[in-house]
């Protein structure tokens, strides 16, 4: 496995590069060998441990909308199949998906699908 070096600025990982320890010693910023450590750009470093960044509310909502869109796309085929099992429930589910972003449940509590597909 390649030697991974984290470059840290102001307590945050700004980049992770492949480099020798000797090369890392000549980098002006703080560097840590993370060959066997879970560490990516944006992680926090407290001088001893790395922790993943907490997502912002905006990031959470963007991901929630992407999930909602993928659910609608995934269930598109059900709409014209009126004899599909639980068809009415699936139509209701799709409407709940559309309405979800305007409810208090958004983005923490997702609408529940009638069944596994």
């Amino acid at each position: 496995m390649e030697n991974r070096i984290a470059i840290i600025k102001d307590g945050i990982v700004s980049n992770v590069i492949v480099a020798s320890d000797e090369f890392a010693e000549n980098i002006q910023e703080t560097t840590v060998n993370v060959k066997n450590i879970d560490c990516e750009i944006g992680y926090f470093y407290d001088g001893a441990n790395f922790t993943a960044p907490i997502k912002t509310q905006e990031e959470i909502e963007v991901e929630a909308r992407a999930w909602r869109d993928s659910e609608l796309k995934r269930t598109d085929f059900i709409v014209p199949l009126t004899d599909f099992p639980n068809h009415a429930s699936w139509i209701t589910y799709r409407q709940e998906l559309r309405d979800w972003t305007t409810t208090e449940d958004f983005p923490d509590t997702k609408p529940t699908a009638p069944a596994e597909l």
């Binding site: 390649e2 070096i5 980049n15 992770v16 590069i17 492949v18 090369f23 597909l117």
Partner: protein, 192 residues
Amino acid sequence: MANLSDFLPVAGGGGGGIPKYQEFTTSGTFTPSQALIDAGGRIGLFLVGAGQNGVNNTSTMTGGGGGEVIMKYITLTNTNSITVTVGAPSGGSTTFAASSAGATDEVALGGTGAGANHNDSRYNSRQGAGFGAHMRYGDQAASAGSGVLGYGVGGGAFYSAGTGTAKANSGSGGGFSSLAGGSGFVRVTWFE
């Protein structure tokens, strides 16, 4: 009467000759020769950011995005050493700090996180980066992005085209089963 050699290009004059090159699979320094600067200082750069890791959680199997691939020419004006950093998985950026030699620093961004698709603005901000394939259980898998010249290919989802285990220095995204992306790469080409 002219000699035949009068019509042949001189070294560094363009045309003919074999290009010199230096490749970086790990971080290091590139030092322009005086002959390169005397010949105009033009170099060809091929930079590849590292690929992102794939994921496999309870509902999705998604490949990591490929690293950005940049091909361009820049002109150096002095022989100061240039620091070259090669991005590491997952998603490290590859840099060529050419400002020390009179040009502009160049950066090939690492691949984006698994789960983003080709409509994601994070992909649109990267040149030639292949998006990772995405699949939810019960769905057909999307195809992974093709990258450029075999570099920066998107990671594959289950039953999808794309990389499985990314090769080192390919800049490709890792496959869905939490496989690691490939590290970055740099090639510098010039005449002197």
